[in-house]
């Protein structure tokens, strides 16, 4: 924690950055913090409640954050994947920001969690984590905490769904998507939803109906998932942000599996790694095509 604060202080005092985007405690759990004054760096903390993916504040849509000037962002290994995605798609330039990597022992599902980090409370994204030691950031602080407990495995949830008869699966998703009120929290919180004008807001023509009926909701969520296929960094912030508790991230996770199996690609934190989007292999499987 001190290493984090010291580094933040140095960066601010040296004028290397104008703001440090990290985490702070509050009466209702941990939340994102924007520290511009070296005197305030002691607000910064990092612990297992720091579930937010702060990479989203590097998203070029965040004009009001951009205006603060050069930022240093605190990222976990998994968050760095999203940063890599933004770099890969030329949305941000590496020299325009600083990354403060934090060694991570797993995070809770919610930022106001209390009690021990256990199988029940740990975020699914931590399952089989390979990036507890971030590699992309130029600074990495903190000691590597012990192995996190094994929690929910989304592969298992996907498998459970796929095991259902199609009709049941359809019912499941209809039930979930019927709750969607189209607040677009899923999109707004997503570090990789970078579109200047989201397709759902295009009116000429209007491919995706903006109304919160199953027609519009299905079109929206199918499209959203496809647009993130091969790009989604797996932070599942979309699901955390959803006020209706829709398991949105299952769709992303499912497609990540498809991309892995069919396109032999896993989203990592190497900005120079080729993306499967807009790419192909001549021998891509096509057993579904007659």
């Amino acid at each position: 924690m001190n290493a984090l604060r010291d580094l933040a202080r140095q960066l601010l005092e040296a004028g290397e950055v104008k703001v440090v985007i990290g985490y702070e405690d509050s009466r209702r759990g941990v939340r994102p913090a924007f520290v511009s004054d070296p005197a305030d760096v002691d607000r910064l903390i990092f612990d297992a409640r720091c579930v937010h993916n702060l990479a989203t504040y590097l998203n070029p849509r965040r004009g009001h954050v951009k205006r603060l000037g050069r930022a240093a962002v605190v990222v976990k290994g998994c968050d760095a994947r999203a940063v890599a995605g933004l770099l890969r798609e030329q949305q941000i330039a590496r020299e325009d920001f600083v990354l403060i990597g934090v060694r991570c022992g797993g995070v809770f599902d919610t930022p106001d969690a209390t009690g021990p980090l256990d199988a029940a409370s740990i975020a699914p994204r931590c399952h089989g984590c390979t990036v507890r030691e971030p590699s992309l950031p130029e600074h990495v602080v903190g000691d590597l905490p012990p192995e996190p407990p094994v929690g929910r495995d989304l592969d298992a949830e996907v498998a459970r769904l796929m095991a259902m008869p199609a009709a049941e699966r359809l019912a499941f998703w209809n039930r979930e998507l019927a709750k969607c009120v189209r607040c677009y929290a899923c999109r707004q919180v997503c570090p990789l939803c970078v579109c200047e004008r989201c397709i759902v807001d295009k009116t000429q023509p209007r491919w995706i109906e903006p109304s919160a009926h199953t027609r519009g909701n299905l079109a929206w969520h199918l499209t959203r998932a496809q647009h993130l296929a091969g790009r989604c960094s797996g932070c599942s912030e979309c699901e955390r942000a959803c006020p209706e508790g829709i398991p949105i991230h299952l769709l992303n996770h499912f497609l990540a599996g498809v991309v892995r199996d069919a396109f032999d690609h896993v989203v990592g934190d190497d900005p120079d790694a080729p993306a499967p989007v807009g790419a192909f292999r001549k021998d891509d499987a096509e057993e579904f095509i007659v």
Partner: protein, 140 residues
């Protein structure tokens, strides 16, 4: 007997020409299929398919040049990846992906086009009308 509505999105160079060939060869086909001509399967966004279903289609056919034959050399490879994601996603959300036929039909495969049209029509007829949008009008 239930007569399904089927929309076909086909590329201009291979499948559309193949469909023309089927015509000049007078190959009998079900009347259920309506073709939308596009330059290339690469142009086809899965939203075309979604929209067709929203508008009441019971089935969709997507067809283009065989790999390696694309008039634009690579369009169908890109399309193939797009369709893979969409097809898997349909299955995952429980929408019967049997309602969509993905096929490669070359300009010389009039007979294959006829088979695709008739086969798909029979299959969709067996599946019955598409009812993927329960309660679209329901108010909370």
């Amino acid at each position: 007997m239930f007569e399904p509505r089927i929309v076909a999105f086909v590329c201009n160079w291979c499948t559309y020409t193949g469909a023309d060939l089927a015509g000049t060869s007078r190959l009998p086909m079900a009347t259920n299929v309506r073709i939308v001509r596009l330059p290339c399967t690469g142009r086809i966004d899965p939203l075309f398919i979604v929209k067709a279903f929203e508008r009441g289609a019971d089935g969709v056919i997507v067809s283009g040049c065989h790999p390696g034959d694309c008039h634009y050399s690579e369009g169908n490879y890109h399309a193939r990846r797009r369709f893979r994601l969409f097809k898997e996603l349909m299955d995952f959300t429980g929408i019967d992906s049997d309602r969509v036929t993905f096929s490669w039909v070359s300009a010389s495969q009039g007979q294959k086009w006829a088979d695709v049209v008739n086969g798909t029509t029979e299959r969709i007829r067996a599946l019955g009308p598409f009812e993927g949008y329960p309660g679209s009008e329901e108010v909370a």
